[in-house]
Symmetry: C2
Subunit: 132 residues, 2 copies
DNA sequence: CTTATAAATGTTATATTATTACATACTGTT
DNA sequence: AACAGTATGTAATAATATAACATTTATAAG
């Protein structure tokens, strides 16, 4: 069950924008797009992004400094994320593969480190770009 | 067998610095540290970093915008990287686990995407920080 | 050795991404 | 009403990264 988070005004504006965008959005592109809604400063964007990431409504694609709406209905928090990224068209999608997530969530090694979170980014060519 | 790359002057200066540093280094910290060696501009640092990443001598820790020397003697190129990152002390180490790398290198899903590269970052608390 | 080519360097300016600091307002609880 | 926690507004600035252009050095072929 997904906990309902009542998004604040700015959080909602920014989440809605990211959610309906086709791909990942960058912070300043978000800023540009929400200026007509009264959000004027980078910090307002970054604060909303931080919160949305924290509650798992969006994820950050670290290698791209961009943000994407969670595509798994069950990502309550951003603790276990995996993405596939096309290096040609920059299309990004969230991988939802229970075997993979189980494997990684249970991963441990000899370092004695306790892992509580991971982020995995796969790179390659998507179907479309491969056939070009 | 590791191909020998003859590093250029700037590449060598910057690699040596990263290699002997304890943890990941950020670009502008590198810049600061090599100014006495005649490297004066960010671009000189970024160019060397790009090349060193390309040939696998260093890796970028995407979530930290920082660079670390490859700790696997066999990473010829930065195609398959995994790191463990302590969220308390920011200690980073490269994970060298053949099962994990095999699992991820062979990963494929129904998207039809051909994966040629991945980067995985695990987060948690290291042994030291756990026991505090 | 000369010529051609690719790789690396030097330099200035600028673009992009993200945070600090401080003041104010809203929301829910006691 | 008083309090605590969360969110907002605003300005300034820090941190990260790239564009553009001129020059030099290394590598390989002829
Ligand atoms: Zn998700
Ligand atoms: Zn593509
Ligand atoms: Zn490596
Ligand atoms: Zn630690």
């Amino acid at each position: 069950m997904q906990k309902e988070h009542n998004l604040s005004k700015n959080q909602k504006i920014i989440f809605d924008l990211i959610d309906k965008s086709r791909g990942p959005m960058k912070a300043y592109s978000i800023l540009f797009n929400v200026q007509k809604k009264g959000i004027k400063a980078p910090l307002q964007v970054y604060r909303a992004l931080d919160k949305l990431v924290e509650i798992g409504k969006i994820h950050k694609i670290e290698s791209r400094n961009a943000f994407i709406a969670c595509q798994n209905s069950n990502c309550q928090v951003s603790k276990a994320t995996a993405f596939s990224i096309c290096e040609s068209c920059e299309n990004v999608s969230e991988i939802s593969n229970s075997k993979l997530s189980k494997y990684l969530s249970n991963f441990s090694d000899s370092s004695g480190m306790k892992y509580s979170k991971y982020n995995l980014e796969f790179f390659g060519l998507c179907k479309k770009c491969k056939s070009k």
